[in-house]
């Protein structure tokens, strides 16, 4: 099975002998830079040369190891390979969500991509990137925008490219949106027959009605805050804008120092170039939030 996302191909190799060869081939072949192979294999408990460790992770300059106790271990190597070892209790859904939620951002870092936590939606030809803490409502507001005719660029992770002219683009991710049941119901999004992302964890994987096929120019970033609020959209100062963007770079504390410096410099430059606005949502409903963002950012 193969899927293309964020400009490269994920090749799910399974665990057969032929597939194992595919992993080895891809791992050793420098011409396969647009492909990453995911395959079953033995994953060590510890990364011998680990220089950083925190939470469920250990990392060195080239590899990283993720351990979800009682469920699975993932080894992410050279930006090209994810090896997984499942505990007996784990199933395919478990693997999918942790490859997406944990391995993918590490893989993107190893591939030198500019990745941030967020959701990018194309409105009238250009993309707005929604940022904010987990549970702030990024996917829900994005879903409200999709209902108004917008196109999904990516949900969960946003990968940004900047060219020499200073233009910033968001690469297309999978054409799916991660929503919880109550949010989908409140928006009137049909959920009959939709599959849960993972048993017992809750959350649904919804097909976006329209999904971008190519990178989309980014016009602005909107930082959502569900905790306090006036419901106003306010442009952030340059310093706040840089902090907003750089703090959304996932797993940055596990990266080598030179990579951290590069990420901070790159995202800082993006924040200085494009408007970053904060929306203190308060009690504002998702549809009204979406409308205010579009009005304030001229989308």
């Amino acid at each position: 099975m193969q899927e293309t996302l964020f400009g490269f191909t994920l090749h799910w190799a399974g665990d057969g002998p032929r597939d194992r060869e595919a992993v080895d081939d891809a791992g050793g072949d420098t011409s396969c830079d647009d492909t990453c192979v995911i395959a079953q294999g033995a994953v060590p408990m510890r990364l011998e040369a680990a220089t950083k460790a925190r939470g469920l992770w250990q990392a060195d300059d080239a590899q990283a190891l993720f351990h979800m106790p009682g469920l699975l271990r993932l080894q992410i190597s050279w930006g090209r390979q994810v090896t997984y070892q499942l505990a007996p209790a784990a199933d395919a859904d478990d693997l999918q969500v942790f490859v997406w939620g944990a391995a993918l951002p590490m893989l993107l870092h190893q591939r030198k991509a500019r990745v941030v936590r967020g959701t990018a939606v194309q409105v009238h030809g250009t993309a707005i990137v929604l940022l904010g803490a987990s549970g702030a409502g990024k996917s829900t507001v994005a879903a409200a925008l999709l209902q108004e005719g917008a196109t999904l660029v990516s949900d969960g992770w946003v990968v940004l490219d900047a060219d020499e002219s200073g233009a910033v683009r968001a690469r297309p991710g999978p054409p799916t949106l991660r929503l919880f049941r109550d949010a989908a119901k409140a928006l009137g999004w049909p959920i009959a027959g939709v599959r849960e992302r993972r048993r017992e964890a809750g959350g649904l994987l919804l097909e976006a009605p329209r999904a971008a096929a190519a990178a989309v120019p980014v016009t602005a970033f909107a930082v959502l805050d569900s905790q306090r609020g006036s419901g106003k959209v306010e442009r952030q100062s340059p310093l706040q804008a840089v902090a907003s963007l750089t703090s959304e770079s996932p797993l940055l504390h596990l990266q080598p120092e030179r990579r951290v410096t590069q990420v901070l410099r790159d995202l800082g430059a993006v924040a200085m170039r494009l408007p970053v606005a904060a929306l203190t949502r308060g009690d504002l409903m998702p549809r009204d939030t979406a409308r205010r963002i579009c009005e304030a950012l001229g989308a």
Binding site: M68, A133, S134, R178, A201, G202, S226, R228
Partner: protein, 278 residues
């Protein structure tokens, strides 16, 4: 002793008031209490901080898996106890699936259990959660009740087991921590006396003038006025106000005979243990 002092309470039992009182005691008398920057908040349940520490989205985890990771996360946070060593928790004091205490005693300096008559808790919760009284009594009487579950919606707060009201109180009373218990009613009756007890438990020396000032700064009416003037970030979207009445015994006017009987049936042993007449 190192680690956190847990301000443990079932919701709507006076935890926020206790945080305001303690913050005022920890600060110099000229400190102006800002309700929207109150110390000792729910850092240990902040989803963003948890996700950042573990390096994977908790939205993709089951509530049991989160509970199994919490002791290590709390250990991580306890390594950097900040200006205020007290942290609120509504979670019951329970073992997780791996047999570890979620509120790890290794990272705990002590537990201050704040309790309130369950009748008043029920009335306050009714307004807080916009539920009817029978719904609230059902929740308060249900063993292993979850707060902030994520089967249907994702909030910025991690889910945790608060338990039934009785289970919650008993779990902390019988838990492994060094502990003390404060009754909301006693705090209302003589705030200075009760704060002296709390500060002595925490090993914090403050003169009577300082404590008197802290009590005055954190008076319920003042907190209520601040909420009116500036709003309060911890007020749920569907609740009209967070600081509603702050009294004791009002439940008697609200409860029907059947509801009183239910309260007695569900909670009498623990009520007696805490000195509340059922």
């Amino acid at each position: 002793m190192s680690g956190f002092y847990w301000l443990a309470s079932y919701p709507k039992s006076g935890n926020t008031w206790m945080r305001a009182l303690l913050q005022a005691c920890y600060e110099e008398p000229e400190h102006v209490l800002d309700l929207n920057h109150l110390g000792g908040g729910g850092l240990v349940r902040a989803r963003g901080a948890f996700d950042g520490w573990c390096g994977a989205p908790s939205a993709d985890m089951t509530v049991d898996e989160i509970a199994c990771l919490l002791p290590a996360f709390i250990g991580h946070l306890a390594g950097g106890v900040g200006r205020y060593p007290f942290v609120k928790t509504h979670g019951a004091c329970l073992l997780n699936r791996d047999g570890e205490w979620v509120h790890d005693p290794l990272h705990t300096a002590g537990a201050i259990l704040v309790v309130r008559h369950p009748g008043d808790v029920a009335v306050s919760l009714m307004h807080h959660l916009a539920l009817d009284l029978d719904g609230v009594l059902e929740m308060m009487g249900t063993h292993d009740t979850w707060f902030g579950g994520q089967r249907h919606r994702l909030g910025s707060i991690l889910p945790e087991v608060i338990g039934s009201w009785s289970q919650h109180c008993a779990s902390w009373l019988d838990g492994p921590h060094r502990k003390m218990c404060i009754r909301y009613e006693d705090l209302l009756e003589d705030t200075v006396r009760e704060m002296n007890r709390v500060l002595a438990f925490m090993g914090v020396a403050r003169d009577s003038q300082h404590i008197g000032h802290a009590v005055e700064t954190s008076r319920f009416e003042r907190l209520q006025q601040q909420e009116t003037d500036q709003g309060f970030v911890e007020r749920p979207a569907h609740a009209l106000r967070f600081f509603r009445q702050g009294t004791a015994g009002g439940w008697r006017e609200t409860f029907s005979a059947a509801q009183r009987a239910r309260l007695r049936r569900d909670h009498e042993p623990v009520m007696r243990r805490l000195g509340y007449a059922p």
